[in-house]
């Protein structure tokens, strides 16, 4: 025989032998014979191309045949599942909720860790951790070309009164943006969608003011005008020309605080009051965030060491003293290419916590699915035995059973994606109660969806395979004779199904413990007493300099506002402050470094970091917080004759809270004592109770209260203020105040108008919404565990029907039968609870150790035995109830019909 013919024949036979078992049973011999007959003839007629064509035909038909069988498997699986709607519904629903939850958890990770849209190579970006730099320092950092490829300085969350036309009379809207150095966009690697971005060559002091707008601003406020570039806006009353539009979805670095506008730092102080006083040349005005794009091949630790050395040199040159961290460094560099600014420890905690939640939910869902499939496989043993006996191959049956589990998991995965979208949309639409823009997007991305689907399919295959293999490992004869009543595997033998149930119980207990811990922490925090009366306390914020008021006019206006508003009907007390407790979820208190005469033997001046609040006259009286000693600020304190810091200026009065007094002066009375902040001197005139600054603060920080003086407005034109007014019950004081302000100062824009109670309610709602997600998780754990246990017990009743019938025929009572059935469930529940409790305890301890990172969020750890024991007890009770129902049904078995069944 020609060698080519021989090779072709050998290949043909090999391919023919790879056909599916059923096909080979019916047509294998014919296929082989036909090939053997056809090959010599094809060689004679067509030569080598003919042989190749023949081989190609069988090679193409082979996978097509498998695909046909798979299609048949899918159709059969769908018909089979349609006959068991309850089982399918439970499986798909539990998968959908579990996979949906996992997607939401993954989306949360992405909303924090994900790269900011539009930024090139975010992994190369770094910034200082909670450390602002002065502009001269930034310029030196930028010059470190051996470690820094590019750098930018910026001021974020800067409010602008924006008028969308160039006319002076145009109505202004308060929007937020960034003040940026010219290298901002090149450092982030962003390209404009239209027009141009800033550059050092085009943005110089004295040049006409320009602005880059975000894509969202362009669509929302300019109607996606194709001629937007070149239009003039008014920013804080001054004209600025649009020179560029940012790319789609780009909201600046750290888009969790989105920016609508980008203005160069070289613009005049009139455009941005933050830039008055020439901060670009002041080495001590540390007010700029700095973002670095590291040079190629430079890692974060090396860059941190280099920039730390530069900072210490600059500090020496400028006589600045700074605290050092545990590594002896004065600055810390962290990755910056993420959605939100967060320390690596916080990110690590959230990521780990999310992974733990994700793993628990997924293992719970998979264990439930595996248990359901195992039980279902056991019920179909007779059917499988019949099919094996008429010639079905075990691999084909396994494939068909696997098709069912994959179908279920795919359907569950798709439904889970829908659930994830719904949940993600619902969570994203809950506004974060914050005075400044804060957005987070929990919508699952394509990557999250693909991961979710892949996990669903893997779960279907992985957790369907074991039950499928177990189901086909049946002795045909025994199964057919016994009618599927195979000997029951009780708890004494550790069967696969029992293993899954125990695993499910353990995962449920752990999930319940974790979620209860979180919910308890949330709820305990939000319902703590803020420490002052919140009823009828009205808040209005003003920012006059952005409405075109001069610095002097602003100072004069703000000093006089309390008197004007005190004449409004219903107003009992009015004051001013630069921030108000509990006004927002994300309140941030600036820190200053002060010294007080040390009581130590050397009598040195110890430096302390304390929070600083600026307040008006009668602040504590308005807030309803009585002083422990001394006095409040009065009008004289707000209008000092001399600017602070000058030689002839008297010491500025200051009020301390209890924590600050303890830290600065120990147990001594602080009234009349002196405090220094650099060249500034303060005299303590009052002592007040500790008051929490916000819902996320767990302990009271040491705080010094300084008067909101006219000098403050002169030295910091960007200073805005919040008016606090205590109204009378039953009167709409807020509306009256708004009307008064509008009539007296029609050009003044007022914003953040609300009562403190409304603000607290928004915060509570947000926290409760957050807590609700964990409650849903906990309930989900309860539900799944109950379903799993109930299913196992119901199956046990079916399997032991004959045995139960015999026992009842011999005189066993209902209670005895119930006890018999529930004994197995009880052992499984106990085993799962013990495992879950142990795992939950370890998790709880780990969370407690880690919760120092979020110690301001959860002040009271849920370290009560009630929580540790209550969760597994509740779950065990529900699981036993799930066992009880089928056990009760077992007592309704008619002994005669059970005995007659064969």
């Amino acid at each position: 025989m020609n060698p080519r013919v021989s090779v072709c024949l050998a290949l043909y036979r090999r391919l023919a032998s790879a056909y599916p078992h059923e096909f080979r049973m019916l047509y294998g011999e014919d296929l082989d014979r036909l090939g053997e007959d056809a090959i010599p003839e094809v060689w004679r007629r067509y030569g080598l191309p003919g042989l190749l064509r023949l081989l190609a035909d069988i090679a193409i038909q082979l996978p097509a045949t498998y695909l046909t069988e798979i299609r048949q498997d899918i159709v059969y699986a769908m018909r089979t599942l349609a006959k068991s709607p309850g089982f399918a519904a439970v499986a798909v629903l539990s998968l959908a909720i579990g996979i949906g939850m996992c997607s939401v958890v993954l989306s949360e990770c992405q909303s924090i860790d994900g790269p900011p849209p539009g930024v090139r190579d975010p992994a190369a970006l770094a910034s200082f951790y909670w450390h602002d730099a002065s502009y001269p320092y930034f310029e030196r950092y930028r010059d470190q070309r051996q470690v820094v490829g590019n750098a930018t300085a910026f001021l974020g969350l800067v409010p602008f009164a924006v008028a969308f036309t160039g006319e002076k009379s145009a109505h202004a809207e308060r929007l937020y943006g960034h003040l940026v150095s010219p290298e901002y966009f090149t450092t982030l690697g962003v390209t404009p969608a239209a027009g141009r971005f800033f550059s050092p060559e085009t943005e110089k002091p004295g040049m006409p003011a320009v602005v880059v707008i975000s894509d969202r601003f362009w669509r929302r406020h300019l109607g996606a005008d194709p001629l937007a570039v070149g239009r003039t806006l008014r920013l804080n009353g001054a004209p600025a020309t649009i020179v560029g539009i940012g790319p789609k979805d780009f909201q600046g670095i750290w888009p969790a605080n989105p920016a609508e506008l980008f203005v160069p730092l070289t613009c005049a102080g009139s455009l941005a009051p933050e830039l008055s006083g020439d901060p670009l040349h002041a080495p001590d005005r540390e007010m700029f965030g700095v973002v670095f794009r590291l040079a190629a091949g430079v890692k974060l630790p090396a860059a941190e060491a280099a920039l730390d050395a530069v900072t210490r040199n600059l500090d020496r040159e400028n006589g600045i003293e700074r605290d050092r961290d545990r590594k002896g460094r004065v600055v810390r560099l962290v990755p910056a290419g993420t959605m939100m600014r967060m320390s690596p420890e916080q990110r690590s905690f959230i990521d780990t916590f999310d992974v733990v939640l994700w793993a628990l939910v997924l293992s719970l869902v998979c264990a439930n699915l595996a248990g359901l499939l195992l039980a279902r496989g056991s019920q179909r043993r007779r059917e499988i035995a019949i099919r094996l006996s008429v010639g079905a191959s075990r691999p084909r049956l396994v494939r068909q059973l696997l098709t069912e589990s994959v179908l279920l998991s795919f359907a569950g995965g798709l439904a889970g994606i829908g659930f994830a979208y719904w949940m993600g949309h619902a969570i994203s639409s809950v506004p974060m109660p914050s005075a400044t823009p804060f957005e987070y997007n929990f919508q699952p991305s394509l990557r999250v969806l693909a991961t979710t689907l892949a996990i669903a399919l893997a779960a279907g295959i992985g957790f369907g395979l074991a039950p499928a293999l177990s189901s086909v490992r049946t002795e045909i004869g025994v199964t057919l004779k016994q009618g599927g009543q195979a000997p029951l595997r009780g708890y004494r033998r550790f069967g696969l199904r029992n293993l899954f149930v125990v695993g499910q119980m353990a995962a449920s207990v752990m999930l319940l413990l974790v979620t209860w811990f979180i919910v308890a922490g949330f709820l305990l925090n939000t319902h703590l007493d803020p420490g002052f009366e919140t009823a009828n306390l009205n808040l209005i914020s003003v920012d006059p300099v952005r409405d075109g008021y001069s610095v002097e006019a602003t100072a004069s206006l703000l000093i006089g506002l309390p008197d004007e508003l005190s004449r409004v009907s219903g107003v009992r007390a009015v004051s001013l402050a630069d921030s108000v407790p509990f006004a927002s979820m994300t309140a941030f208190q600036p820190k200053i470094r002060v010294s007080a005469p040390s009581s130590g033997p050397k009598g040195g001046q110890a430096l302390h970091s304390v929070g600083r609040e600026r307040i008006g006259a009668g602040y504590f009286a308005t807030l309803g917080v009585p002083l422990l000693g001394g006095r409040e600020f009065d009008r004289r304190d707000l209008q000092p004759q001399e600017a602070p810091g000058t030689k002839s200026a008297p010491a500025t009065p200051a009020i301390l809270n209890q924590t600050a007094a303890r830290e600065l002066f120990g147990g001594e009375v602080p009234l009349g004592r002196r405090i220094r902040e650099g060249e500034l001197n303060y005299t303590v005139v009052g002592l007040t109770h500790d008051v929490r600054s916000g819902p996320t603060s767990t302990t009271t920080d040491p705080t010094i209260f300084l008067p909101l003086t006219t000098s403050v407005f002169r030295s910091n034109p960007a200073q805005r203020a919040t008016i606090l007014a205590r109204g009378s019950a039953g009167q709409d004081t807020l509306a009256a105040m708004r009307a008064q302000l509008t009539s007296l100062h029609p050009n003044l824009t007022i914003f953040n108008v609300h009562t403190l109670q409304e603000g607290l309610n928004r915060i509570n709602s947000f926290v409760q919404w957050d807590a609700a997600i964990y409650v849903i998780l906990g309930l989900f754990a309860l539900l799944l565990a109950s379903i799993g246990l109930g299913g196992v017990t119901a199956y046990a009743v079916v399997r032991r029907r004959k045995e139960i019938g015999i026992r009842m025929a011999l005189g066993a009572g209902s209670l005895q039968v119930q006890g018999l059935v529930m004994r197995e469930g009880t052992v499984l529940v106990a085993a799962g609870s013990v495992l879950g409790l142990g795992g939950g305890f370890i998790l709880w301890r780990a969370l407690r150790a880690w919760s120092d990172v979020l110690s301001r969020t959860f002040p009271k750890h849920a370290d009560s035995s009630l929580l540790l024991l209550g969760a597994p007890l509740l779950l065990a009770d529900l699981a036993m109830l799930a066992c009880y129902l089928p056990a009760r049904r077992a007592t309704e078995i008619d002994p005669m019909s059970a005995l007659r069944e064969e």
């Binding site: 023919a16 059923e22 096909f23 019916l26 047509y27 011999e29 014919d30 296929l31 014979r33 036909l34 090939g35 007959d37 056809a38 007629r45 064509r53 023949l54 035909d57 069988i58 193409i60 038909q61 082979l62 097509a64 045949t65 048949q72 159709v75 059969y76 099919r387 008429v390 010639g391 079905a392 084909r396």
Partner: protein
């Protein structure tokens, strides 16, 4: 096993237009039962070598035709001298004959339409 997947009875029109390979196989079974090799040879001769049913395609089609009820395995064997005991014979079912008749009518109608069109072009 594959019997489980035999289609429920379908209307003959549901099979139109008939796949070319199926048409040739059904045509081969008109008038006489035939085995796989015979079908292959008959199609080759009838089409002057232009249509060749390769083995895998042939048996894949036979399997589909059986599951769709257009053909069935035949119990009748030819005389002993012509028979090969290893071979399996197939025959048309009633549904298969109906489908083939409908397909032929469809093809004839298409030929008539083409001829009418040619006459119009000639005018």
């Amino acid at each position: 096993m594959s019997d489980i997947y035999i289609s429920m009875s379908r209307d003959a029109r549901d099979f139109l237009p008939l796949h070319a390979n199926w048409f040739h196989i059904l045509l081969s079974l008109v008038g006489a039962d035939q085995h796989g090799y015979g079908i292959m040879q008959e199609v080759l001769e009838r089409t002057n070598g232009s249509v060749r049913l390769w083995p895998a395609t042939l048996y894949g089609s036979l399997k589909r035709l059986i599951s769709d009820g257009l053909i069935e395995e035949s119990d009748e064997r030819p005389v002993a001298e012509l028979d090969d005991a290893r071979r399996r014979y197939y025959r048309l079912t009633r549904l298969g004959r109906t489908v083939l008749d409908l397909e032929c009518a469809r093809l004839q109608e298409m030929v008539r339409m083409m001829q009418r069109k040619r006459k119009q072009e000639a005018y």
